[in-house]
């Protein structure tokens, strides 16, 4: 049994590192080839985990091969449009100028029920108000309403807005992120002053503290222990 434990750890770490090297994609945004890769790797890894009679290399080598091929193909698809359309397919316009295109739906085996479901999830109830709906290669539906149906922006009303910018974490679960602090041009002294002005004695009392580019601070204290009833 200890063999199963050690093999599981080795294979798990190996796969995590390999998938990590493939890049930042969530499972829902994988291209078909990447989804197939994930499924095959999971299947391959399970075999030597459970069967001690199979050498560990019998799992590691296929996984390594798959990850290498996937990495090579992902670089080649970036360089070659033809290869990209061959492996990943092309996005399809399902709705154009407020009208559903049945031929495109048939071609993609995309049913009317699925279309309505995707539109409802996106908050769209009136197809006639949609300029384009595009079925992406990942299977997601991108909906672009007519300009007149889109929410008004401050710039359209000639209003000026404050740019908040990107908030970065300065305190994470009681720990001060020194690198982030330095990247905003601040130091521990400034942080202590900010905490004291908010009635906080120590960074350990803070669960989350962020600072955005305009200097706005958000903080959240550590949660008090739940009271016993």
């Amino acid at each position: 049994m200890i063999i199963a434990l050690v093999r599981t750890i080795i294979l798990y770490l190996f796969i995590v590192i390999g998938i990590r090297l493939l890049g930042k994609r969530q499972i829902g945004e994988l291209e078909p080839s990447e989804l197939v890769l994930s499924l095959i790797i999971a299947d391959i890894a399970a075999v030597p985990m459970q069967d001690y009679g199979i050498p560990l290399l019998a799992g590691i080598i296929p996984i390594l091969t798959l990850l290498s091929i996937s990495s090579i193909l992902s670089v080649l698809t970036v360089k070659s449009i033809r290869l990209r359309s061959l492996l990943c397919g092309r996005p399809s316009i399902i709705i154009k100028d407020g009208k559903v295109l049945p031929k495109e739906m048939m071609r993609n085996r995309f049913t009317a029920d699925e279309l309505m479901e995707e539109l409802r999830v996106g908050g769209y109830t009136d197809i006639s108000k949609i300029k384009y709906a595009i079925l992406e290669t990942t299977g997601r539906l991108s909906v672009l309403p007519y300009a007149s149906e889109q929410p008004i922006t401050p710039s359209q009303l000639n209003l000026e807005c404050r740019e908040g910018g990107l908030p970065i974490i300065l305190i994470n679960d009681g720990r001060v992120m020194q690198q982030n602090l330095a990247s905003r041009g601040k130091d521990s002294l400034w942080l202590s002053e900010q905490l004291r002005s908010r009635g906080i004695q120590s960074p350990s009392e803070v669960f989350l503290l962020t600072l955005d580019e305009s200097g706005a601070i958000y903080y959240s204290r550590q949660q008090e222990p739940a009271e016993r009833l």
Binding site: L21, G53, L57, I61, L64, S68, I69, S71, V75
Partner: protein, 126 residues
């Protein structure tokens, strides 16, 4: 392009190492098979001690490469091979020529299958 070259290198290196492994395995197993054939020849003329010694040498050679064999080959197949060797040695000890020959030939055949399964052939692919 760095991931491309690194992945290509890993893939090429893996293919090269595995092909070399097949060649090395064959070069390691073939002399052992010849030794077993010679041992059988000695057993036929009732030179049991020489036959036993040669079979034991085959066993010792496999033991020396135990880690390499365990890492690269299915453990069940290796276990079967060790059991077959033990069986052959037992028959030699009791001077049972018929049973020994059958066991020895089975052992040689198992060794054939062992490196045959690793070879890059159409049979193995399909």
């Amino acid at each position: 392009m760095k991931p491309f070259w690194i992945s290509s290198l890993i893939l090429t290196a893996t293919i090269a190492i595995l092909l070399y492994n097949v060649s090395y395995l064959e070069s390691f197993i073939s002399p052992l098979q010849e030794k077993l054939q010679q041992a059988e020849a000695f057993a036929r003329v009732e030179d049991w001690d020489t036959a036993t010694q040669m079979t034991q040498e085959v066993h010792d050679a496999l033991e020396k490469k135990k880690l390499y064999l365990n890492v690269t080959l299915p453990h069940n197949a290796l276990d079967q091979m060790y059991l077959q060797i033990a069986e052959s040695l037992s028959y030699l000890k009791h001077e049972k020529i018929g049973e020994y020959q059958a066991s020895n030939q089975m052992l040689i055949h198992r060794m054939n299958l062992l490196y045959g399964a690793e070879s890059l052939t159409l049979n193995n692919l399909f």
